[in-house]
């Protein structure tokens, strides 16, 4: 537990992702700032 306390909270979340991946459902925490969602993805639809 002492070691865990030293790890940043975001890193703990990543570990949780892997644990939950054993199940069919996975919890993902996006580390990218929300402003990135504003940038346009270039794509073509046909």
């Amino acid at each position: 537990m002492q070691k865990l306390d030293k790890i940043k909270s975001t890193e703990v979340k990543v570990s949780r992702t892997w644990l939950l991946d054993l199940d069919k459902t996975t919890v993902i925490d996006d580390t990218v700032p929300q402003s990135d969602a504003v940038e346009k993805i270039e794509f073509k639809v046909s």
């Binding site: 992702t17 991946d21 069919k24 459902t25 996975t26 919890v27 993902i28 925490d29 996006d30 580390t31 990218v32 700032p33 929300q34 990135d36 969602a37 504003v38 940038e39 346009k40 993805i41 270039e42 794509f43 073509k44 639809v45 046909s46």
Partner: protein, 305 residues
């Protein structure tokens, strides 16, 4: 038959044909990764593959072609691609230049494309559930730089390797794109040798021929017209670039050179010579590296032309 319109890449056609057959009986397309250098037809084959994936009504599924370098984050992907095109729809999503996908998106894809438990996958992102049904959603990827794709993610994908086109294949692509123009056999062989095994160069040369044909009112090309075209546009034998040509000339006139010596004589950095200019000369056997750089007899013969 699928892919009949596309020239060459026979092993690619066989593999893709197999996965299309499998799709017709399972409704599932494996996650395919088209790997090869620029101009080998990765995107064309991915589009053609997409045209053959039909929806429940027997029509072509929607095909979404994404420039991966513009994908910046997971939220952005869900908002701009998942919600409008994937959710509750039948769709094929194609990520071009997939090595440019950012790490955090790749990490999410690692979870999405882990299909050991069946053909559906749900992930929760910012308290919202996103479900992928791989009987409705197909994912294709293409890259020129397979080594830059995160290895565990690459393991989730089936690699489709693209080979260089043969000169005969490229001649065929060339002629297919120039319906009303004819060539003398030696003229066709000469111009095909300048494509460097690359369909993109071939298509560029098609445009050059079309411009020449219209501006000079020529519909049949003999060596005279081809030589004139090459002189005008600076197209060198075997499609060598001016820098490659200069390197060969330096090696012939001044003898064997160290990489440093070649760098000093050309004004190019050592890494630029290694990465951008000497690979083609080495692969075609026009120069060799025997501690130092040296021109071969084949290279001398090429300059002689």
């Amino acid at each position: 038959m699928a892919f009949d319109k596309l020239v060459g890449q026979h092993s690619v056609k066989k593999k893709l044909g197999f996965y299309l057959e499998a799709y017709n009986s399972t409704s599932i397309v494996p996650f395919l990764n088209f790997v090869g250098a620029k101009g080998l037809g990765k995107t064309e084959f991915a589009r053609e593959f997409g045209r053959n994936i039909l929806n429940a009504e027997g029509n072509k599924r929607t095909f979404v072609e994404i420039n991966s370098s513009t994908v910046k984050g997971v939220s952005q992907f869900f908002e701009q691609i998942y919600l409008p095109f994937i959710l509750d729809k039948e769709v094929t999503v194609f990520f071009d230049e997939a090595h440019a996908l950012p790490k955090e998106v790749v990490m999410v894809f690692l979870s999405i494309f882990n299909t050991e438990d069946g053909s559906e996958k749900t992930i929760i992102h910012k308290e919202t559930a996103y479900t992928f049904d791989f009987k409705k959603h197909s994912f294709l990827f293409a890259t020129t730089e397979s080594d830059k794709i995160f290895a565990p993610f690459k393991d989730r994908l089936i690699t489709i390797d693209f080979d260089n086109y043969s000169q005969e294949d490229l001649s065929q692509i060339f002629l297919n794109n120039l319906q009303n123009i004819t060539f003398a056999p030696d003229a066709l062989e000469y111009i095909s040798s300048t494509f460097r095994g690359n369909a993109r160069n071939c298509v560029q040369r098609v445009k050059d021929i079309q411009f020449y044909s219209v501006s000079r009112n020529v519909n049949h090309f003999s060596m005279t017209e081809i030589k004139d075209l090459c002189d005008t546009l600076g197209i060198l034998p075997q499609g060598c670039t001016q820098i490659e040509w200069r390197i060969l000339n330096i090696l012939r006139k001044e003898g064997r050179q160290s990489l440093q010596g070649l760098s000093a004589r050309t004004g190019l950095s050592r890494s630029s010579i290694q990465k951008d200019h000497e690979n083609y000369l080495l692969s075609r056997g026009y120069m060799e590296i025997d501690i130092q750089r040296v021109i071969t007899a084949k290279g001398c013969a090429l300059l002689g032309k």
